[in-house]
Symmetry: C2
Subunit: 398 residues, 2 copies
């Protein structure tokens, strides 16, 4: 939770209680731009794609969007033709109430899989969403879209380029890509900068790769994952064009907002008590560095050792060894923050391991692995695997 | 634990206390054949390979082996040149005591990573191993090689072919491929049948693929995994040659012994309370069926739902969706034992889910997924993910 600047020119927000969640809490939200915005999106790679994604994706790919309708409590996934019809119908009702073209409406859902979404309850609160929307309710939206999240996730950044006065505001939900049946990770980014759809899509891909695609709680990916970005140009500044200083800064700020949100998701990972950065350097190339970092970050044994505050580099080097990245065990160095525990594949001794154990007592630390084979480097963010994770996920539906 | 026939002609066994384990328990073992046996092996795919594997692998690849020296408590992994020298030296001492060529000795270790193996303690008990060996101590060997195992693992089968009177005896250790620093999975198979080294290697590969390579507790693989098979021909029967009825039966019995041992490892998976078979059918081909089964079997969310006795097919279908296997969500059927919970990608209703929940209360059950795309099928065996898993692995070294 950062002190985010949640006002972005030309955007307004609203939430309402449709009665989809079991508790009497806001479970529907609207994000609206006064004018059609350019837009871009990235979507789950899961082959099981929820109905709202099937509706939204082709619309967003046209490059224009003006309104996003979100519900929590039901993912509208594995719901067949009926689920698709519900998503389309909800979008249509919202478009009519707003008086805009239906194709400018995106719909997204998060919650239980395999149960039909009670679409009529959403239809019923659409007028309330439309008429009660205000520029200052981004925080309320962040809360309405929570499922197993323990805290809401909002982050923002001001553009720094001299030609730009705009803001990037990001809202996300997710407790670590770990709840396929609670619909996992959603991200919504709005900016009043003027950015073409193509540049927006390219910038989003880069920012997602080093943020949402570089975190793991348990490696499961969901049927509903989606990140959307809308740029409405209402700050009144000149357009940000490719290969400009303004574009470079826009990328930088977008990266910052998305990494900030992604780290919040790791911190909120179900049962997590620690956020650990896995930094791999010296791999043959960036792709192998990424693969090595992913392998260590997703090892249950490594993650459980973090929980146990055990500087167990044997598990780390073993996880490195079964990744697809080229490595030579006799050249590997490993650090916990600035404490080196492995040099050329061998222990640096019990004193260093003891110092490393102190590092593991912190809530945040970095494990650095140097493969000494090349220039490739990559970062992954992971959490520890705890009793609480088992409790949350074993007891969830029962 | 099965009632295994543990006598195999021409093989003898011994155990001793070398003082490598912290408790005063047998931690060294010898498996010896009266004559040089043909042999075959499969090894970890981890790029970090423990010293004893580096010594043993080229020897076994020559196709002849007479003695296997095993220690538990220390993996002799990540121990550099000194570790390699220790493994070679131990093998030499055993060969001298037995009066056989050093190249006929295999050495294997299981235990903590990154600590030098006290080889002199092994040297010291070699005479005891050699002189106290008897044909009836296979069970004692199975116990001596245990690390975090809760029970010892022995299985055997009689050859059924009319030309054969031999036995296949298998010994294994491992609690689910999950302890890279406790050296994971070791398997030793001895038979008094006469089998050429090439056929033996081919048979072992097939048997391992459908047993040890089809189980998972947490997907981590170790630096020390190894399965060796020795055939000494001392039953006095005619040689088993490729493409014969005897070879077919040998494969069948070897499969049976290894699958039996593999299931024991899953049952002994750290903290596991359930053994679950994931059966995928109707995949485009066998490779995709295997990939789909693996993806479901290794999902933390699925495994935690098993522990929670929650018939949570949403997690199963999501895990299927992010596997590399081709699938169409609208064609998937899912059963828990004989209770169908999903038909054409949709829920069969709350009554069926309730019946499925009863299935999940059992210690063993089967989840069947039919993709309806082709003839490919595959089985994986997995366990549930429990509080106890976290406890064992978080507390292990501290």
């Amino acid at each position: 939770m950062t002190h985010a600047d949640t006002h972005v020119k030309g955007f307004s927000f609203a939430v309402a209680i449709a009665g989809i969640k079991q508790q009497e809490k806001p479970d529907c939200a609207l994000i609206y731009s006064d004018v059609p915005a350019t837009c871009a999106g990235v979507y789950t790679r899961n082959k099981v794609v929820a109905a709202p994604l099937q509706v939204t994706r082709p619309r967003v790919e046209r490059g224009r969007c003006q309104a996003i309708l979100i519900n929590s409590g039901n993912a509208n996934a594995c719901t067949g033709a009926q689920g698709l019809e519900t998503a389309q119908h909800n979008a249509g009702v919202l478009a009519a109430e707003l008086g805009i073209d239906e194709i400018l409406v995106a719909v997204t859902s998060t919650g239980v899989i395999g149960v039909q979404l009670p679409g009529e309850r959403i239809d019923a609160i659409v007028p309330q969403l439309v008429h009660e929307r205000t520029p200052d309710q981004a925080q309320a939206v962040a809360e309405a879209i929570m499922t197993t999240d323990l805290f809401s996730k909002v982050s923002s950044a001001r553009l720094q380029s001299p030609t730009q006065s705009g803001t990037i505001l990001g809202i996300a939900k997710g407790a670590g890509m770990i709840h396929p049946n609670m619909a996992t990770m959603l991200g919504f980014v709005v900016t009043d900068a003027k950015v073409g759809a193509e540049l927006l899509q390219q910038s989003l891909r880069i920012a997602v790769e080093q943020s949402f695609n570089s975190i793991t709680v348990d490696g499961d990916t969901s049927t509903n994952d989606m990140v959307l970005v809308l740029a409405n140009g209402q700050a009144g500044d000149e357009e940000i064009v490719p290969d400009s200083a303004a574009a470079e800064d826009f990328q930088l700020q977008l990266n910052k907002v998305l990494l900030d949100l992604a780290k919040m998701i790791v911190r909120d990972g179900e049962g997590a008590t620690k956020v650990v950065q896995i930094h791999v350097q010296g791999a043959r190339n960036a792709a192998e560095a990424r693969e090595a970092a992913r392998s260590v970050a997703t090892s249950n044994l490594v993650k459980t050792a973090f929980f146990g505050e055990d500087a167990n580099w044997g598990r780390i080097i073993a996880a490195l060894g079964y990744s697809d990245a080229e490595m030579d065990a006799d050249q590997v160095d490993i650090w916990f923050d600035d404490i080196q525990v492995v040099h050329n594949g061998l222990s640096t001794g019990p004193k260093q391991e003891e110092l490393a154990t102190d590092v593991l007592r912190h809530n945040e630390f970095c494990v650095t692995l140097d493969l000494h084979l090349g220039q490739g480097s990559s970062d992954y963010y992971t959490s520890d695997l705890t009793y609480e994770y088992i409790k949350i996920n074993a007891d969830y539906r029962t």
